[in-house]
């Protein structure tokens, strides 16, 4: 098997996402690998989109931006932010193969999200890297 995570690891990841991000009233968090596979996803119960399609597009989007970065001589892009009228999407790379997407509204500031995502990412890195 190329890629598998046990129940215990997944429980820990869910707990981190719940405590560090969902508890802030973000709308949705998705942890995925760069192939577009979903590792964990939580939402506030109001999400009406297909999370598998979102993950596929997010992996493609981040991959495209990373390739653009290499073309201009940048080694890697670590984060990406899309601002919408109602919803914002924040992408953060974890280790080399994982991506954390946080979808949040304008009631939360980008700076605060960046701080909390960085904290959560650090904890998740320890689980995924173990």
């Amino acid at each position: 098997m190329d890629h598998a995570l046990g129940s215990e690891q997944l429980d820990k990841i869910d707990n981190i996402l719940q405590t560090d991000l969902m508890a802030l009233s973000v709308h949705c968090v998705v942890l995925l690998d760069m192939a577009g596979n979903i590792i964990a996803d939580l939402d506030n119960g109001k999400a009406k989109f297909d999370v598998y399609s979102l993950a596929a597009l997010a992996a493609g989007n981040f991959g495209a931006v990373s390739t653009m970065a290499q073309m201009i001589g940048e080694e890697e892009i670590l984060l990406l932010f899309h601002k919408g009228k109602k919803e914002n999407i924040y992408f953060s790379k974890i280790l080399t193969d994982f991506l954390l997407i946080t979808i949040f509204g304008h009631d939360l500031s980008l700076g605060f999200i960046r701080l909390k995502v960085a904290e959560a990412s650090e904890k998740i890195e320890k689980i995924l890297g173990a």
């Binding site: 129940s7 596979n37 596929a56």
Partner: protein, 201 residues
Amino acid sequence: MAFVNFKKQEVQIKIVYYGPGRGGKTSNLEYIFRKFKEHILTELVTIKTQGDRTLFFDFLPFDMGKIAGYAVKVQLYTVPGQAMYNSTRQLVLKGVDGVVFVADSLEAMRKKNFESLKNLQDNLKLHKKSIFKTPFVLQYNKRDLAEQGIPLLSIESLEKDLNSQLKVPSFEASALKGTNVLATLKKIIVLTVSTIEDQLK
């Protein structure tokens, strides 16, 4: 790189439709989507240019039921066939579990088929995968055009060009009419799942 979620008892597999531009990769997914629309709970995701060509990829996820107690989520992708989009093809191939190569049966496309297959082999190598060890199905598309008197490559010629070394299952198909589209899909799913099935038990 199939992802197995032991907590949700779920496995996600990624199947990529590859081949030369305008060969019928997107048409395969569109037919599958039309056929199973009532059972697929999402839309077919497409990223196209204004000229209706695939720019990035098409994406169609669906549930396939359970194998060894695990819910299997199949994720179908296409790549853009045009030569200039190679970096995009490399991205989409990341983590691929199975490949359907959609060859264009038009006589004029012989060279393009061969180039695309070679390109696939090179791009799989970038992901440290061998074309000979990846679950693989060949589809010879547009066979219906023979009825209109359009010159097509013979099956013998396509087999010799594309399948003499691979020796993988191949299907004569018409993605527009749906001929053998589902047979192709079924075959690649069976081949892909069988490579990971032992590890699920």
